[in-house]
Symmetry: C2
Subunit: 280 residues, 2 copies
Amino acid sequence: MFKIGDFSRIARVSCRLLRYYDELGLLRPEQIERDSGYRYYSAAQLPRLNRILVLKELGLSLDEIARVLDSNLSAAELRGMLLVRRNDAQRALAEEMERLRHIESRIAQIDAEGELSVDDVIMRSEPAQQLLSLRRVVPSFAAARELVRELSESLRALKAKGVLGRLTAIAHAQEFETDRIDVEVGFVLQAELQDPVLRLASGEPLSVRELGAVERMATCVRIGLPERAHLVTGKIGVFLEANGYGLAGPSREVFLQPPRLDRMEESVVEMQFPIAKIAP
Amino acid sequence: MFKIGDFSRIARVSCRLLRYYDELGLLRPEQIERDSGYRYYSAAQLPRLNRILVLKELGLSLDEIARVLDSNLSAAELRGMLLVRRNDAQRALAEEMERLRHIESRIAQIDAEGELSVDDVIMRSEPAQQLLSLRRVVPSFAAARELVRELSESLRALKAKGVLGRLTAIAHAQEFETDRIDVEVGFVLQAELQDPVLRLASGEPLSVRELGAVERMATCVRIGLPERAHLVTGKIGVFLEANGYGLAGPSREVFLQPPRLDRMEESVVEMQFPIAKIAP
DNA sequence: GCTTGACCTTCACGTAGCGTCAAACCCTAC
DNA sequence: GTAGGGTTTGACGCTACGTGAAGGTCAAGC
């Protein structure tokens, strides 16, 4: 029988840890003196402690470890837990590699440019969404803006119901032409739509389609008129080149503030570019 | 100017986060209404928020981020911080890979044996230490034990001063021979030694030498007589085979409890085996 | 002007796994 | 008997927020 200090030296763990595990019921001392309250551990408890430490090292929480040890669950169940943990570990590994790559690219950036540039470009993923939209080829940005206005007015009733999410525009054109803009505008749906087919005031029907999930999206917020969009695309371009990505699909513009045609200079738009790694 | 809710939707972060960063002084709202206390953010604050998020993603703590942003430190200093972070990330990456390997080997073990075996073997690293020791070839375990007794008695005075750490024995023999045991016994030093040369009662001098650090050590605690050591070596062997390691140096026995020759069956000894990965 | 509902405020607790005091009690050796 | 080292419980601290609760504000519709 060892006092807690001796046992902690033997097992090379802290006394606090042992007291904590006692409190959790994870490792109870074999004996506790009535009057002094001293904890006494026996050497026979080392294997249990070691099992705890091993399982902890594997990434299980103390709660899970308690279940593993006490409700002596079957090998199959333990295997299941380990499979879950393996998934976690694989994800964590991938994240850590990404992080490392980011760090190294930032260091390289400092070495190349002498400073860390302003970071307006953010990378994230985007889940799949339902889009209530209309696609057209328009001859000018003004016409596109008019389309947005028309759409907004036609859907005013729906908007009041809170079914409509953010206004989103998608640029389908492969190449950039100022006079033939292939654009899709619509609203993200936040609930199932009741009416089978909705129409513009002009009678043109709107379609509901799924906007696929995008795993990697380079995004940047633009404030002000659409004419300033090239500032954003420039930043995106620099970002892609620096990090070894390329464009991988039609870009989107999401209006984070509901757009007002009379005050477009206050509009807040997030430009989204689906991207993918380029083989190095 | 946006209220906190709008700004949070624009930046796609939670309100709580914005309030928290305000509290930390990391991102102060551009304006706060006197009477209502409402926070108002401007679009011009998005870049700062984005920088915060990027640096957070790189793994810097909020505290470090505050220093980076406010005491606008030089590119060189930032580079230094990133180098530190890179080291951290590399270590984390290596750990995560190790963890994943361990998890997979445990799963494989369950698949092979139908259950998770008792885990007495622990792997860890050992730092470099100074050892005050004596090396000899003795003809029996009993002689080795006698050597320990002699050493302990000769160093009783030193032990009282608290300079001596744990008693450690090192098995130098390449092959196992019962009648020619090449053993080194000594005490780990916890402080610099004053006397230049210490001697056994018999006059034999003790040497002070550095016990190199070991990156990977498979350890197992043995309780009881040395005759039971083969139980431990068996476990170690199974462990090595299962995880793709091989022996990589002389093994050590560390007496976690000061040994008493009269009650050797109560001795607590950690057996340590330096190991290294075997190319698969 | 009043109601209503969405939005905002501060305050405070909870998280995981212990580290780190603090005040008081216990044990053992000289 | 006392000194000093070990032990007890209790409590707070750490990170980066999430999640209420209780109550004040704002804008729209009547």
